[in-house]
Structures are given as C-alpha cells and as structure tokens.
C-alpha cells in the first residue's frame, strides 16, 4: 500500500497518556506518555526493571493500569476492548505458552480464538512456520521447544491475524542470528505497508538499525522519546543511553569486586 505519511496529520497508532502502575506500594510505571505514529517501527529501551514489560502489558490489555488511558488504532483498550483487542498482536514476556500443544496446534488454536476462517489459519500458519524455520518442529510439543523457538512460535501467533499494531516484548531474546535476520525482514515488510510495530529490546545496535522511533524508559518514566535521530542527538544510541541512564560500569572500575578473579582455589 502506501508509505507512512509524515507529520501530525495522521492519527497515531497508539496513544498512551498518564499510564501508572504500583505493585504493593512500589511504583513500577510512573506516568508514561507515548505517541506512536502509524507505520512506525518503535523501539522501547531501558535498564532491567525500568517498566517495559509492565507498560506493554497495560497497553495490550493484559494488566489493568492504576491510572491512564491507552488508545490503539483509535479505540480505547480499557473502555472498548471489543474493537481494540481485535487490532492488537502480542508477544508477551514472562507468560507461559500452552506447553502441551504442538507449535502447529498452538497457531491453529490462536487462529480459532481470533475467529479467523480455518483455511486462512492453515495457510498462514504453514507460511509462518516455514519462514521462521519451524516447519520441522511444527509437530513437536511446545514443552520441548528451546527458548528461541518459543519466541519464534509466539511471534508467529502474534502475526497470525495480521493486526495493524504489533507489540513484541524482547522478540529477539535468545533468537539465533539467522532467524533474527528473518524476523527483521518480516517486520520491515510489515511496517512498510503501514502497520506498526512496538518492541522492547536490550540490543542497542538492533534498535538503532531497525527503528524509526525510540523511547528510553528508566524507573518507570519516559526520559527521552521521538524519532531515532532526535533521541540519539548526533551520537550512537548506545552512548546516548549510557549518558541518560548512567553507567554503573564505573563502579566496577573503581576498586570494588577486587577479590574477583584472583583465584586461589
């Protein structure tokens, strides 16, 4: 179809306003605002525990926010789940898959839950398994899958109903380089037609290479967001990230952990 148009004229694919979540009095996400343009490839980065998974869960309707609103493709996720859920694809992190289904059955089950016509599900599932290199493992139970294979089958399930907006929590974690390249190609193709991908990652090079937009999260807040060039401000994304969230690596240089490495046993 057409390329994502520039400027503010296009309604955003995802609007997040004042998102907040506390766990037992400890704030995990503290007023996150994000505007994710349609057709963008949006990277969410931040140190461990920054609140990426928590934010993505709230945005996709899996975790109820304490405050804030989320609109996906124009529909409020928490007020109008009927329309919104239909338009969302999710690869969550830290949630189980149906271990006792085979990969192929998992896709079939997902397709049926999504109310796709059976022949479409079949055809798409086979194609996805093929592209992701899972054809051979398609009849194995998910319980026997490796970590990377789980990510890939989860990605296939998220793509199955061809949602306009896709949320992926660490999709490249444990995925081998060849598969990662395939996934990148699939996702590039997907955003080129106006669909939107939001994903979290710890690999700065990957984010810098793929994303049109980036948001940096730290301690439950967005500390920088915008187009890739705006955020990185003339430096590499990695340098900028270190600058913004601080470098505890300095601590390791400064003499602590001195006992480590001088093996005496």
């Amino acid at each position: 179809m057409q390329h994502p148009p520039e400027g503010d004229a296009v309604p955003a694919a995802v609007e997040v306003r004042g998102l907040r979540k506390e766990f037992d009095g400890k704030v995990a996400v503290e007023g996150v605002d994000l505007t994710i343009p349609r057709g963008s490839f949006y990277g969410l980065v931040g140190p461990n525990g920054a609140g990426k998974t928590t934010s993505l869960s709230m945005i996709t309707g899996l975790l109820r926010p304490d405050a804030g609103t989320v609109t996906v493709a124009g529909y409020d996720v928490w007020q109008d789940p009927y329309e919104a859920k239909h338009r969302i694809g999710i690869l969550p992190d830290g949630l189980r898959l149906f271990e006792r289904l085979s990969g192929r059955e998992l896709l079939r089950y997902t397709g049926r839950l999504r109310e796709l016509p059976a022949p479409d599900t079949e055809a798409r599932a086979e194609e996805l398994l093929d592209v992701l290199g899972l054809t051979e493992a398609g009849d194995k139970l998910v319980v026997d899958y490796s970590t990377g294979m789980r990510k890939k089958i989860g990605l296939a399930a998220a793509l199955l109903h061809n949602p306009p907006v896709l949320f992926l929590d660490e999709p490249f974690e444990s995925v081998d380089p060849v598969s990662a390249e395939t996934i990148r190609e699939v996702l590039r193709q997907y955003t080129a037609t106006g669909s939107t991908v939001v994903f979290s990652s710890h690999v700065m090079e990957l984010v810098a290479a793929l994303c049109t937009h980036v948001a940096i999260l730290a301690k439950g807040r967005v500390i920088a967001d915008g187009t890739l060039d705006e955020v990185r401000a003339g430096r590499s994304l990695n340098e900028r990230f270190m600058e913004l969230v601080g470098t505890p690596a300095g601590k390791a240089k400064g003499g602590s952990l001195a006992w480590l490495g001088s093996s005496s046993g």
């Binding site: 996709t60 309707g61 899996l62 975790l63 109820r64 789940p81 009927y82 859920k85 239909h86 969302i88 999710i90 969550p92 830290g94 949630l95 189980r96 898959l97 149906f98 271990e99 006792r100 289904l101 085979s102 192929r104 059955e105 079939r108 089950y109 997902t110 049926r112 839950l113 999504r114 109310e115 796709l116 016509p117 059976a118 022949p119 599900t121 079949e122 398609g138 009849d139 194995k140 139970l141 319980v143 026997d144 399930a157």
Partner: protein, 525 residues
C-alpha cells in the same frame, strides 16, 4: 546444612504467603482446620487407653498414616509442599548425608507433618497402658513417636523422588499404570477406614496381625511389647524401623542423584503430535463456537498431561470403588453413586484456570465479549461433564441391577446430577474469585501452600455442594417408596442445570471484567 534447609523453607513460605492475602488466609485456615481435625482424632485415640483393643487401634492408625503418606502426595502432587526441592541444590557441593539430613528436616516442617505428629502421639498414648511401668518401656514409647513420623515422611519423599519423572515426565507413560495401583491401594485404605469407623473394630484379627508385621506396625507393636516386658522384641522392632528409615534415605538419595544428573528420558525422543485434518466439520465447529474450542483444548490438555490424566482416572476409579466398598459394608443401593459424584467434586473440577496457568493470556487477549467469557467457563467444564455424567450413570445402573434396587435408580441419578451441577457451579465461582495456578512441577520451589489452597478450595466446595443439594435429598426422602420417585431424575437434573446457568450468568460477567486480575494472579505462580 540442616539450618540452611530449614531457613530456606521458612523464608520461601513466608515470602509466598506475603505475596497474596488470599493465599495466606487459605493457608492458615487450611492449617487450622486440619490441625483441629487431627487433635480431635488424636484425643479419640488417646481416650482409648485401657481398652483391650487399643494396641490394635494403634497398629491400624499407624498403617493408615503410612498409606496416606505414600498415596496422597503421589495422587495430588506433593500435597501442598513444593518448597523443599533438593534438586535445585545440585550445583552446590553438598555431601549426600548432609543433603538428606537437610531435606528431611525441611520436609518435617508444615501442616502435614504437624497433623501426623498429633495423630501419632494420640495413637501412642492410646496404646501406652502400662508403658510407664519401667524405664525401658517409657523410652520405647517416647522413641516410637519420632521414628514413626520419620518413617512416614522419609518413605513418602523417597517414593515421590523415585516417581518424579513419571509424574512430571513429558510422556508420563508410567503414570497411568501408577494411577491404577494407587487407586487400588487408596480404595483399600478407604475400605479399612470405613469399616473401622463404622462399627468399632470390625476387622478380622488376622488383618491386624498381618499389619503388625508390616513396617508401620513395628513401632506400634513395640509399645505393647515394651509394656508387656518383652523389651528385646520392642528394641528389635524400633531398631528395624530405624534401619528401614536409613535404607529409605539411601534410596531417596539415589533417586535424587538420578534426578539431578539425568534429563527426562522421554525427551530423548521428542513427542510428535499428529496434526489431524483441519478442514471439514470439526474445524468448522471449533471455529464457530468458542465453547467447543475451549472444551476441545481443555480436553487435549487433560489427556496429554500425565498428572491430570491420572487425577481424572483416579476420580473415575473412586466413583466406581465407592459403591463397591459401600456394598461391602452393606449399603446396597444405587444412591451410592451420589458418593461417587461427591468424590469427583473433591478431586477434579478444582479451579478451571489452574491447568493453563498464565498461558491463558492468549484467551484474555481475545476476550472481547461477555459471551466469550461464558464460553471460557462452559468450555472448561464440558470435557469433565461428558466424562463423568455417563460414568456415574453406568455405575448407578450397574449397582441398581446387581442390588435389585432399580426403583431407586432414577432418584439416585437425579441427586447425583444435582450434586454435579452444584459442584461445577461452585468450581466456576471459585475459579473467578480465587484463581489458583496449579503447579505444573510438584517440585517447584515457587509457591508453598499453593496447591494446598487448590485442594482446600475443592474441599470447601464439596462440603458446600452437599449443603446446596439438601432440597433434592429431602425430595428423595419424602418420595421414598412412592411411585413418583422417578420424578427426582428430571427435577434433580434441572436443579443442577439451574445452578450452573445462574452461576454462569454472574460469573461470566465477572470473568469478563476481571480477566486481567485473574491473569495477574496466575502469573504469580
């Protein structure tokens, strides 16, 4: 090492209970109820002191405890104690003896061992007439208590460790066979309990004499031997018990070592699932009806998970054994099938989302209408219903034909179906209000007290279920002997159906509203 294990167990228990008030309340309530029950039974046993058959009662009690310790953890996972997992310490250089000592110490902590200790003490006091006459007799009596407790705990752990692969293994090909054995043993234990509870001590003396020669009978018999002045016999019996405990510890350690260093042998050749044809009628049905889709999914999950398959088989077997046992004690009537329905409610419906755990996120992500939510609930009940309803019908019919009480068949089925309906209604309500994740791995450290909550929920719901079908039971009593007794079949069925439908309306709504919260709870497993 003992200190480390005990500290670890206590810390895990504390943090798990702190994470959820509901879980803490469930754990405390379960502990209080079971300890209170144990105290009641123990006082009963202790008051038997001086009766001529008191030593026999002690033998029976010890045998019953040992069987319970062997059977219950196997058929219900680790029975509410998933906190001590020595396999997780495989990376630490720990010597076998210290590992087992530590693991034993931590296995002794918890409501189960506490109740057992109370019961053993009661039985020992009951059998201890004249035991305080001499120092050696008193010593034997006092020693019998910890030895018996250790025997129960260590035997249970050793057995569990050696069957751990079969229970959690991906194929679990041995599990079904094991289920059969356990059921037979469990049925026999139930028979023992029923006959002793029903009519004082109806067991033939031969049984007691045989039981006295089995290991749990040794410490019990030692008390009597010591009181009678046969000190050598008593000491020999205690020494035998101690030696057996040591042997069991060696077996336990060998099983643990195997668990630590080998992978599940069933993965050596990964399971391939034939994906059937998916066009055609079945595919169309599954695509068009979310209820059927969820039911189909649930059914294959049950069929493929060895532990759940075993629970199901055991429940079916108990439903069959119950009338048989009842017939043996003289209650020859199809009404015994109601007991089968009750046992089923006790073991199976449980918590509807327990099987999937946090994997239900994909259902939550596609839950777009209240109708979808109702389909989730009904779909999870259907597979169990289509298995148990025909089964109960067959059992009741069989009993009616054999006992010649075909006149009571319709009414018995009516009461059974009413109870089933109420049980399922309760299962829905509990699942939505207090979802519990069922630990896939009975050795998981993550959440002690968790499967305790699961069983407590089942137990409470089966008690409430009986209360809720009182009108139907009253109807059966009122119409007893009348020609209208058959009316109970349609009425009871309608009663059960109504309970399901009414609950479904409200719980479907609530599931739709609270699905993310339920997911959050399941995520904590």
């Amino acid at each position: 090492m003992v200190g480390v294990f005990v500290g670890l167990k206590l810390a895990l228990l504390r943090s798990s209970l702190r994470r959820s008030t509901a879980r803490a309340v469930g754990f405390v309530a379960g502990t209080v109820i079971s300890v209170a029950g144990a105290c009641y039974a123990a006082v009963g046993l202790a008051l038997g002191q001086g009766e001529p058959d008191a030593p026999d009662v002690a033998v029976l009690a010890f045998a019953g405890l040992a069987v319970a310790w062997l059977v219950l953890p196997l058929s219900f996972g680790a029975g509410g104690d998933e906190s001590s997992d020595p396999t997780r310490l495989a990376v630490l250089p720990v010597r076998p003896r210290r590992l087992i000592a530590g693991a034993t110490a931590s296995a002794l902590i918890g409501p189960g061992p506490l109740c057992t200790l109370v019961l053993i003490t009661g039985a020992v006091v009951g059998a201890a007439e004249g035991a305080l006459g001499s120092f050696s007799a008193a010593l034997v009596t006092v020693l019998a208590v910890p030895l018996m407790l250790l025997l129960c705990v260590v035997a249970s752990r050793a057995l569990l460790a050696s069957f751990a692969r079969a229970l959690t293994g991906r194929r679990g090909k041995d599990a079904a066979a094991l289920g059969g054995v356990l059921t037979a043993v469990g049925g026999y234990a139930a028979y023992l309990l029923l006959t002793t509870a029903g009519s004082g001590l109806a067991l033939p003396p031969l049984v007691v004499r045989v039981l006295r020669w089995t290991p749990p009978g040794w410490p019990a018999d030692a008390i009597r031997a010591a009181a009678d002045g046969r000190t050598a016999t008593a000491l020999l019996e205690l020494a035998g018990t101690a030696a057996l405990i040591a042997l069991l510890m060696v077996w336990w350690h060998a099983s643990l070592a195997r668990l630590m260093t080998t992978t599940d042998s069933s993965t050596a050749q990964a399971v391939k699932v034939r994906a059937g044809r998916t066009t055609g009628l079945r595919a169309r049905l599954l695509t068009s009806s979310r209820t059927l889709l969820v039911a189909h999914h649930q059914f294959s999950a049950f069929a493929r998970s060895p532990r759940h398959r075993m629970t199901m088989i055991a429940a079916l077997a108990y439903a069959l054994l119950f009338p048989v046992v009842m017939a043996a004690v003289g209650m020859r009537t199809p009404y015994a099938a109601v007991g089968g329905a009750w046992v089923f409610g006790l073991t199976v419906p449980g918590v509807l989302f327990a099987l999937d755990g946090s994997a239900i996120w994909s259902n939550v992500a596609t839950l777009r209408t209240v109708a979808h939510a109702r389909a989730e609930l009904v779909g999870r009940l259907l597979p169990q219903l289509v298995v148990i309803a025909p089964w109960l019908t067959a059992v009741a019919t069989g009993v009616a034909l054999v006992s010649g009480r075909t006149d009571q068949l319709a009414a018995a089925l009516g009461v059974s179906f009413a109870l089933l309906g109420v049980t399922f209604a309760m299962g829905m309500a509990i699942s939505v209000f207090h979802p519990y994740p069922y630990p896939e791995d009975p050795w998981s450290v993550s959440a002690p007290g968790q499967s305790g909550g699961y069983h407590l929920a089942n137990f409470l719901s089966s008690i409430l279920g009986v209360v809720a079908v009182v009108p139907v039971i009253a109807g059966a009593i009122a119409l007893n002997g009348s020609v209208f007794l058959w009316l109970l079949l349609p009425l009871g069925t309608a009663y059960g159906l109504l309970a399901v439908l009414v609950t479904l309306r409200t719980m479907g709504r609530r599931l739709f509203d609270k699905a993310p919260e339920i997911l959050t709870t399941l995520r904590m497993s």
